[in-house]
């Protein structure tokens, strides 16, 4: 390579084991939240608790095979707390002050902060076992279930809101229009990944409303798209086998599917007809992509490979901008902070790897 890759902002390196997942814990919930007032009320009640005394900092949470959840302070860039919360944690999320983890054997557990600064398990939710990571979207937690089903839970009440399913040809009379052939959910293999998106519907000149979309990718390469608002399966497409990750850019209506193969597949969703079809392919130097993400600002597409490289593409031109070489084993997760992290004066990206190395970056702003 002619140009050396840029340097990370910092590198957390210790015996963290095989990491699976990262999550930014930020002082405030996302502002574009629909139920903003509601969440603010909730926050007030939190402030009453013991937590309120400390100024809130941005933390980075990481968890992995050894079941520990590590809390990194992004101000001092040091590990400030760790707690064993399960076994082989696949995904970790934060919701207000709560920490949500998903274990590989199934089961999602919600931990609340108790007065002595430790976390206590308060609720568990059912979940399919496997590698598919749960997803948090505002107040909703999207959990993969057995038999190609996806459950939507409300994080405020911990109750199930919805169940999305692919109706098998013999189970239900009306086959969704998007499915040209009858598909047997039993033959899809494991559910591998989930992604949320938005479908913007203009209601008036000034007001834009949106409907939520959910993508689900299966081992066989099938990707299904539900409209969450209406609960209807709206589209289906077939990609290369062994999908591991999907990302979707709601504004452009384009997304990327990454998997164990040697290519990234870019797809588009035609919003008028709600059809999903592959557009082009990006060839990877080394086979295998564990995670793909389009950054919120839609400037870059990031792909974490089995080879430990984090490849950064321009999302507009799909040109490779850089390959970050900080990890020496498979890149396992990539996350972007929602807000500016004060210490770095910018929104940042965090990358974790199977070698237990976490790096944080500030790139291509």
């Amino acid at each position: 390579m002619a140009v050396l890759p840029p340097d990370p902002l910092f590198r957390f390196k210790s015996d963290y084991g095989h990491l699976h997942t990262l999550c930014f814990m930020e002082p405030e919930c996302d502002a574009e939240d629909k139920d903003e007032i509601d969440s603010k009320l909730q926050k007030l009640s939190v402030i009453d608790g013991a937590v309120a005394e400390q100024p809130k900092k941005t933390l980075l949470l990481a968890a992995g095979e050894n079941g520990m959840v590590y809390f990194f302070d992004l101000e001092s860039n040091r590990l400030i707390y760790k707690q064993g919360m399960g076994v082989s944690i696949q995904a970790v999320h934060t919701y207000q002050e709560a920490v949500i983890i998903q274990e590989k054997q199934g089961l999602v557990s919600i931990f609340k902060r108790s007065s002595d600064l430790t976390y206590e398990k308060t609720t568990t939710l059912p979940c399919a076992s496997g590698f598919c990571k749960t997803l948090r979207s505002n107040h909703k937690l999207i959990i993969p279930q057995e038999n190609a089903a996806v459950d939507i839970y409300d994080l405020k009440t911990h109750s199930q809101l919805q169940r999305l399913q692919i109706q098998s040809s013999h189970g239900c009379k009306d086959i969704p229009t998007c499915l040209h052939d009858a598909i047997n959910p039993q033959q899809l293999g494991q559910l591998m990944c989930l992604e949320v998106g938005m479908l913007f519907t203009r209601t008036s000149q000034l007001h834009q409303d949106y409907e939520e979309l959910i993508f689900a990718g299966f081992e066989t390469g099938d990707v299904f798209l539900w409209n969450l608002t209406s609960g209807v399966l709206v589209a289906h497409a077939k990609f290369n086998e062994c999908i591991i990750s999907i990302t979707y850019d709601s504004i452009a209506g384009k997304g990327v599917v990454g998997g164990a193969g040697g290519v990234l597949q870019v797809f588009g969703v035609e919003r008028s007809t709600m059809t999903m079809k592959p557009l082009c392919e990006l060839t990877l130097t080394n086979e295998g992509c564990q995670v793909v993400r389009v950054r919120k600002d839609r400037k870059i597409l990031v792909c974490g490979g089995f080879d430990g490289r984090t490849r950064i593409y321009s999302w507009k031109t799909l040109r490779l901008l850089a390959a970050l070489t900080e990890n020496h084993a498979c890149v396992t997760d990539i996350q972007f902070s929602e807000q500016v992290v004060p210490q770095w004066g910018s929104q940042i990206m965090a990358v974790s790897g199977a070698d237990g190395i976490i790096t944080i970056w500030n790139l291509y702003k």
Partner: protein, 814 residues
């Protein structure tokens, strides 16, 4: 004085009487006042009593005539104003007097520098009197008087004077705070004077009168203090003309002397000083007066306490960025301002300091950089370091958050080869350590090793751009202890990993340098020292063995013990071979030895990796590797299980080095390594040495002897590497023979060594060769004698006679 009722005995409390007197004498005021002042300032030569008297009289006179006899001056009502015409005229006359008297006060200003303390004391007293009495009636004069007081306040020779002045000033401050309405004219005057002073100051500094300069700077500081205390500074400096003028003045005064700085590098490391050394040899002002510098600093401190610090800092930052000429001065001022209080702006300033444009300055002459540039850069960096240290001290524990960025940068400078930069870096590090509450610099480094490791790893990868990273690593390793080993080990492992990369060749030297530094610090941490056992002669050895054998015999004769094979043959080659095999297979036996400590494991890895570079084409690399190996095996001496495999692995690349005849340095170092290996692993390498190395050495000696033949007197040969190599081999061979128990096998190199007995060889080489024979003879007289006799018989050339005769005489002693 008597008639004006102002002699010492008069009663100053009789207001009515005084008022009447004043009414009578008012018309004489101008003449008397002016005359008195003229007498006072006329000539320093006249007695101080006269001057004192004049000053006293003048002040009392003025105060008597123009004091404010009507302290409760209520705002006049309209009809009163209409009636009281004469009062207005009175006021007008006051204004006229004020103008005149201000001129007098101007003259009196000169007395502040009067040699005699009593005069200054009286001046202070009189000024105080005037401030007390005519403060409101004579605003212009009062402001002049204030200037006098400000200057007197800085009187270091006569404490009392300074105290009086400071009390009077405090009084004024109170008045200004309490009564903003009535003091307005006075304040306006003061502002005007301040402004005029600012305009005037650079002129003074263009001159050479240090006394004037000091007075002027003191005045400036006094003004700032007065304004700051009466919370006027804001209103004064919100006027941008004033602000720029003020900063301009300060920058002018702060002009840093940037010449006379050595641009030379000194490769020597000083120890940390845990108590920060306050000496700042890099900060030398052009005016070269410590008092002026103090005044300047306190002026900056007044600015820091005020609300306008942010504006001032912004302005200075602007100067810092855009005005190359005044960059150092701006830095100096910002440092002083930031040292007083914890200001948020410090972050911006530090960002500016650490910006690569301002931090990675060229420090070597050449490539369009003149010595002057280098000097400027050094001073600039020193000032920035000083500033960071000061900011740290102001931030205290809060500074911890900046360590990720700052620590490495500072250590980089602490490891600099420029003595000034180095000491600035060390002071800064010590300051940071103290600020953050660490017990020592070592503690600071140990506990922040993660930040440091992160930076080093990054910089190592781009070594071309960050050449100093190695010096930092070296500094840290030198000044930390074993505690820091885990994170250092991490870095080293990273380097090890990187060095396996296919791009290794370009960076090989850099990696090797790190390894060398690591081994060097291991030496320091583990207190490794080279032990050279004294030579035991063959006879002594035999005697010893005799004792052992006898004991053994006795033991054997005891019926039960069967463990005789332990003592059989001390250095059989077969055993050596067996050992090798064992090491190669590395099979665990029943007893599993605990693994060696982490640093030893790492060292082994390093040595193994370094070995790969030994056959490299690059001579520098070879040299490095040989040095690394030599010092590395020294550390391993107590870990035989690790040492012997390394020795084994070193062997084949090492042997080939003895054939690099064109690079005497490599051969020299290889020989040193061989000697070290011989000393540490003894007969482990005997056979191989005899078979593979000695013939090469012999050949080398013979060939080189032709080079050095007739090259002593008046030639530069003694400075060549070839000479050093010959010297090293000739001096080291005897010891090598002893360590390896070569005995008669040393024969192989004798033909080479005897060449140096020729008297046409450089004298030290002859001497070294002679010593070789002496050692040989000392160790084993019989064998030594044989060799020397043998030489004598073959006596090749007459040139040998002198040395041979000496040698023969040794043999005859026995």
């Amino acid at each position: 004085m008597k008639c004006a009722k102002i002699d010492d005995t008069s009663d100053f409390d009789d207001v009515v009487l005084l008022s009447q007197v004043s009414d009578i004498l008012i018309d004489f005021l101008p003449g008397i006042a002016a005359r008195l002042v003229v007498i006072a300032v006329d000539d320093q030569k006249c007695g101080h009593r006269i001057v004192t008297g004049c000053v006293k009289a003048w002040a009392r006179f003025v105060s008597l005539l123009l004091r404010n006899y009507d302290p409760v001056e209520e705002p006049p009502k309209l009809e009163e104003l209409l009636v009281a015409n004469h009062e207005i005229s009175n006021k007008k006359s006051n204004e006229i007097h004020d103008e005149k008297l201000a001129l007098c006060a101007d003259l009196l200003m000169g007395l502040t520098a009067h040699e005699h303390a009593t005069v200054r004391h009286q001046l202070a007293m009189s000024s105080k009197l005037l401030i007390d009495t005519v403060f409101l009636t004579l605003p212009a004069t009062s402001s002049k008087i204030i200037e006098i007081l400000i200057v007197l306040n800085q009187d270091t020779e006569h404490k009392e004077t300074a105290e009086i002045a400071s009390a009077a000033l405090a009084d004024v401050t109170n008045k200004l705070i309490e009564d903003t309405f009535r003091t307005r004219t006075f304040v306006d005057n003061l502002h005007q004077l301040f402004h005029r002073h600012l305009t005037h100051l650079p002129n003074v500094f263009n001159g050479l009168n240090t006394r004037d300069q000091l007075t002027d700077v003191s005045l400036l500081t006094g003004y700032l203090q007065l304004f700051a205390q009466s919370s006027q500074l804001k209103s004064v400096l919100f006027n941008s003309t004033n602000l720029y003028k003020l900063i301009g003045c300060l920058l002018y005064v702060a002009e840093v002397d940037k010449s006379d700085v050595s641009g030379l590098e000194e490769h020597k490391l000083h120890d940390w000083k845990d108590v920060p050394d306050c000496a700042t040899p890099w900060k030398r002002l052009k005016c070269n007066n410590i008092r002026i510098q103090e005044q300047l600093e306190s002026a900056a401190h007044h600015l820091a306490q005020s609300m306008i610090a942010d504006i001032v800092l912004d302005y200075l930052l602007d100067v810092y960025h855009h005005d190359v000429e005044r960059k150092a001065e701006a830095t100096l001022l910002m440092n002083e301002i930031l040292s007083v209080a914890r200001l948020d702006k410090a972050k911006d300033v530090m960002d500016a300091y650490l910006d690569p444009h301002n931090w990675q300055l060229t420090l070597s002459v050449g490539n369009g950089t003149s010595l002057k540039d280098v000097q400027i850069n050094i001073i600039q960096l020193c000032l920035q370091l000083e500033g960071i240290g000061k900011i740290a001290l102001a931030y205290k524990e809060e500074f911890q958050l900046f360590l990720l960025r700052v620590l490495y940068a500072v250590l980089e400078r602490a490891g600099s080869a420029h003595p000034l930069l180095q000491s600035a870096g060390l002071v800064c590090t010590a300051n940071i350590s103290m600020a953050c509450g660490y017990t020592s610099v070592t503690d600071l480094i140990n506990r922040n090793a993660d930040y440091f490791a992160y930076n080093v790893t990054n910089k190592l990868r781009r070594r071309a751009e960050n050449a100093s990273v190695l010096s930092v690593l070296t500094v840290v390793m030198r000044h930390s202890n074993m505690e820091v080993l885990p994170s250092i080990a991490d870095i080293i492992e990273g380097v090890l990993l990187q060095s396996c990369d296919k791009f290794q060749d370009e960076n090989a030297a850099a990696y090797l340098q790190v390894f060398a530094a690591f081994i060097k610090s291991l030496h320091a941490w583990l207190n490794v020292c080279v032990v050279i056992a004294p030579v035991i002669t063959k006879r002594e050895q035999e005697e010893k063995q005799e004792v052992v054998r006898r004991l053994q015999w006795e033991e054997l004769n005891k019926p039960v013990d069967l463990s005789d094979d332990i003592m059989e043959g001390t250095a059989d080659d077969e055993i050596v071979m067996e050992e090798e095999l064992n090491d190669d297979n590395n099979q665990p036996e029943e007893f599993v030895k605990p693994p060696p400590p982490k640093h030893i494991q790492l060292l082994v890895k390093i040595l193994e990796r370094s070995l790969h570079f030994l056959p490299a084409k690059n001579t520098n690399c070879k040299i490095f590797v040989l040095e690394i190996l030599t010092s590395g095996v020294e550390v391993l001496k107590d870990y035989e299980d690790e040492l012997l495999p390394i020795v084994h692995k070193v062997w084949s690349p090492l042997v080939n080095r003895f054939r690099d005849f064109d690079s005497p340095l490599v051969v020299n170092l290889s020989f040193i390594l061989l000697s070290t290996l011989g000393r540490l692993s003894k007969d482990f390498i005997r056979m191989r040495t005899v078979k593979e190395v000695l013939p090469s050495i012999n050949q080398l000696l013979i060939e080189q002897s032709k080079e050095s033949y007739l090259k002593d007197r008046g030639s530069a040969y003694r400075y060549t590497q070839a000479y050093k190599m010959q010297m090293s081999i000739l001096t080291g061979s005897a010891r090598l023979a002893y360590d390896l128990e070569l005995d008669e096998k040393i024969d192989i190199i004798l033909p080479g060594i005897e060449e140096y007995l020729c008297s046409k060889q450089p004298v030290p080489l002859q001497e070294a060769a002679m010593n070789f024979y002496r050692h040989l003879h000392h160790f084993d007289p019989d064998y030594g004698t044989t060799i020397i006799r043998n030489l004598n018989e073959r006596r090749k050339h007459d040139d040998w006679n002198r040395n041979l005769n000496i040698l023969l005489s040794i043999t005859q002693v026995h």
